[in-house]
Amino acid sequence: MKTILALSLAGTLLGTTALAQEDFQPAVIFDMGGKMDKSFNEAAFNGAERFKEETGIDYLEFEITNEAQREQAMERMVRKGADIVVVVGFQNATPVETIAKANPDVKFTIIDAVVDLPNVQSVTFKEEEGSYLVGMAAAMASKTDKVGFVGGMDIPLIRNFLHGYEQGVKATKPDMQVISNFAGTTPAAWSDPARGAELAISQFDRGADVVYAAAGATGLGVLQAAADKGELAIGVDSNQNYLYPGHILTSMVKKVDEAVYNAFKTAQDGTWEAGAESLGLAEKGVDYAVDENNADLITPEIKQKLDEAKQEIIDGKIAVEDYYSTQK
C-alpha cells in the first residue's frame, strides 16, 4: 500500500511543472450524475481540467455513488492531504458541514448549496435570471401560443429554473402558456434521454414549438427530439448549441467550470475567501449563449431585447423572483 501511495505521489510530482507548487493539492468530488453528464458535473470537470492544463497540478477526484459515501469521500480527500476540496451538488450540503467542522484547516467550496462556516465557500447561481432570458427568447421565437419546459428530477433547484423561465415568457407574451413536465422523481431522472425525448415530443404535439430542457443528460433527448421534429429546444448548464445546429435556440449556461477553476486558482495563490456568493447575470455566473450555431435563430431583434432585459436585471429595474422565496 505504501509503495502504491509513493508511486502515485511520484506521478503527481512528475506531472508538476513548477516545483514551488508541488505542495498544493486540489480535489474535486462529483455528484451522482457522474462527471461525464455533458452538463452540470462535466462543467465542473472541465474547470478542474483547465486548472490542470494551465498549472500542471493534478487533482484528486471522486464520483459519489451512494448517500453513505459523501462524508467518506470528503474525509478521504482530507486524509490524502487536499488543501481545497470542491464539492459539486446541492445534496452535499449537510456532509460538507460535518466534515468542514471537523477539519477547520482545509478549505471547502460547495457548488449549488450554501454552508455557513469559516472554511467553506458556497457558490450558488441565479438560475432564475438566466432562465428568465431564455424564457423571453422562447416566447419571441415561438410561432404558436405555447412553449414547453422539461425538468429533470422534481426538486426545488429545477423548479427555480422553471420559475424564472415562466416569468420571462409571461413578461414577453402575457397570454402565452408554459407546458411543464418533470422526467421523474428518482435520480435516474437525470440520465434518461429516452424519457426526455418522449416528454418533449408530447409537448410538441400539444402545440409547443420551443422546449427548454433543464434535466442533465435527460435533456439530450429533448434536444434530439427537437431536431427530429424540426422544432426548437433550449440547452442548459454547458453551451449545448453545437449539438444540433439550427434546432437549439440557445443555451442557459451556468459557469460551473469557472467556479471550480476559480476555487482552485484562488486557493493556490492565497486569495480564496470563505463566504457565500450567488452568481447571476451581473457576475456573469449565468448567461444565454450565442455562437455561430444559433446566430440565425437569435435574430438581431431578439438579441437586442434580450440584452436590454439583461441590463435591466443587472441594474435592478427588472426583479426576477426566485422559487425559494415563494415557498411558504
Binding site: M1, I4, S8, G34, E61, F62, E63, T65, N66, E67, A68, Q69, E71, Q72, A73, E75, R76, F90, Q91, A93, T94, D112, A113, V114, T124, M153, D154, I155, P156, L157, N160, G184, T185, T186, P187, Y324, S325, Q327, K328
Partner: protein, 373 residues
C-alpha cells in the same frame, strides 16, 4: 429425481466457484483497462478489510444487505419474487423518519423502539399491498412490487420537496432528527476489542440485523406458519390439500418481507443520515435479490453474501479512489459479474459438479444392482 449434491458442495464449493469465475472475468477487464489486476485485488481487499474504518463501512453496507437479502429470501420460501425491497425500505424510512421527527427529543430508550416500529410498520404496509393483490386479485407480485417501487419514490419525492423540506431551504431533505433518534454507534463497544471503526456509520442496527437472521431462521424452519409458507412455496395444490389457505400465506410472507426490507431504513436513516434524504435506499433493495440468491435463501448464507457485497461496495469505492482508470462504473461491472455468475448462471457448473460428486456416491447401489442381476 433431481441429483442432490452434498451440502458442502451445494453451499460452499458451488458459490465459491461462481465467485472465482466472476473475479477471473473481472481480472481480464482490469487488464484490458491497462491496470494490474493483482494490485486491484489488493486495493479492493485492503479497502474493505485493511483497517478499522474500512471494516466499519463494510459492515455498515453489509447490514443493509442483510435486511434486504432476508426480505427477498423470506419471500422466496413462499415462491414469491419480491422485487419491491427498494420501495419497502424507502417507505420504511418514512416510518422511522416520521417517528424520529415527532419524538426525536425524547429519551432514546423510548424513541428508538418507536422509530424501529415505524420502519417495520410502514415496510409491512408496502409489502402487504402486493401480497394482498397477489392473493385476492391474482396480480403478479413481480409486477406490483416493481410498480410500488416507483410509487414509493414518487411519494417520497413529493413529501421531501413539498412537505418535509425545511422552509426556504434549497435542499430536499427533512430537518435533522433529535438526539433521541440516533442509533448508537458500535465504535465504543468495538474499541473494547481493539477495533477502531473511525468515522464509519456502523451502528447497533447490525445487531438488529443478526437478530432478524435468527428470527427468520426460526420462523421458516421451526414454526408452523413458516412450514406452511414453505409448503405453499413448494406446491400450492399440495398446500390446499393439506388444509392450508395459500392466499393467507402469500400475504403473510410478503408482509414479513416488507418488515425486513423496511428495517433497512433503521441502519441508513437512524444510523447514518440522521435525517430523511432523497434516495437513501440507494439500490440496496435490488442488490438484496442477488444477496438472497447467493445466500441460497438461508439466513447464514445471506449474512455471508451480504458481507461479500458490503466488501465490494466499500473496497470498490476505495479502488475507484486509488485507481482512477477504474471508474465507479467499473465497480458496478464487478458487482454485476458476481450477480451474473452467482445468480443467473448459478447452474453453469452444476452438471459438472454433479458428474463428479453424485456418480461416485451412486456407484455403490449400482454395484449392488449389478450383483443382483
Amino acid at each position: 429425481m433431481r441429483d442432490a449434491l452434498p451440502a458442502w458442495v451445494e453451499l460452499g464449493l458451488l458459490p465459491l466457484l461462481n465467485l472465482a469465475f466472476a473475479f477471473l472475468v473481472t481480472g481480464v477487464i482490469v487488464v484490458i483497462l491497462g491496470e494490474n489486476p493483482l494490485e486491484a485485488v489488493e486495493l479492493l481487499v485492503y479497502g474493505a478489510f485493511g483497517y478499522g474504518e474500512a471494516w466499519g463501512y463494510t459492515l455498515f453496507y453489509a447490514t443493509n444487505f442483510i435486511f434486504t437479502g432476508l426480505a427477498v429470501a423470506l419471500a422466496f420460501h413462499a415462491g414469491l419474487f419480491n422485487i419491491g425491497g427498494e420501495g419497502q425500505a424507502y417507505i420504511g424510512g418514512l416510518g422511522a423518519g416520521l417517528a424520529a421527527l415527532a419524538f426525536g427529543g425524547g429519551s432514546p430508550f423510548l424513541v428508538l423502539p418507536l422509530c424501529v416500529l415505524g420502519a417495520a410498520l410502514f415496510g409491512a404496509v408496502w409489502g402487504f399491498i402486493p401480497g394482498w393483490l397477489q392473493a385476492k386479485r391474482g396480480s403478479h407480485v413481480v409486477i406490483t412490487t416493481i410498480m410500488l417501487n416507483f410509487v414509493a419514490a414518487s411519494l417520497m419525492t413529493y413529501l421531501m420537496v413539498n412537505v418535509l423540506i425545511v422552509r426556504g431551504s434549497q435542499i430536499p431533505e427533512s430537518a435533522g432528527f433529535g438526539p433521541g433518534a440516533d442509533m448508537p454507534g458500535l465504535n465504543g463497544l468495538l474499541n473494547l476489542f481493539g477495533l477502531d471503526v473511525g468515522r464509519s456509520p456502523l451502528n447497533l442496527s447490525l445487531v438488529l440485523a443478526l437478530v432478524c437472521c435468527v428470527l427468520v431462521w426460526a420462523f421458516v424452519w421451526k414454526s408452523r406458519p413458516g412450514y406452511e409458507v414453505r409448503v405453499v412455496g413448494q406446491s400450492e395444490p399440495a398446500a390446499r390439500y393439506a388444509g392450508i389457505v395459500p392466499g393467507n400465506k402469500v400475504i403473510l410472507a410478503m408482509t414479513l418481507s416488507g418488515v425486513l426490507a423496511g428495517l433497512m431504513a433503521v441502519n441508513e436513516v437512524l444510523g447514518a443520515q440522521h435525517r430523511l434524504v432523497l434516495g437513501f435506499s440507494g439500490g440496496y433493495g435490488f442488490v438484496g435479490i442477488a444477496v438472497a440468491l447467493m445466500g441460497r435463501s438461508h439466513p447464514f448464507g445471506v449474512v455471508l453474501a451480504a458481507l461479500l457485497f458490503g466488501a465490494l461496495y466499500q473496497g470498490g469505492s476505495e479502488l475507484a479512489f486509488d485507481m482512477p482508470a477504474i471508474s465507479r462504473d467499473m465497480v458496478v461491472v464487478i458487482q454485476g459479474l458476481v450477480i451474473l455468475f452467482a445468480g443467473a448462471l448459478e447452474h453453469m457448473f452444476r452438471p459438472f459438479l454433479t458428474g463428479i460428486f453424485v456418480r461416485r456416491r451412486d456407484a455403490a447401489p449400482a454395484v449392488r444392482e449389478a450383483a443382483r442381476g
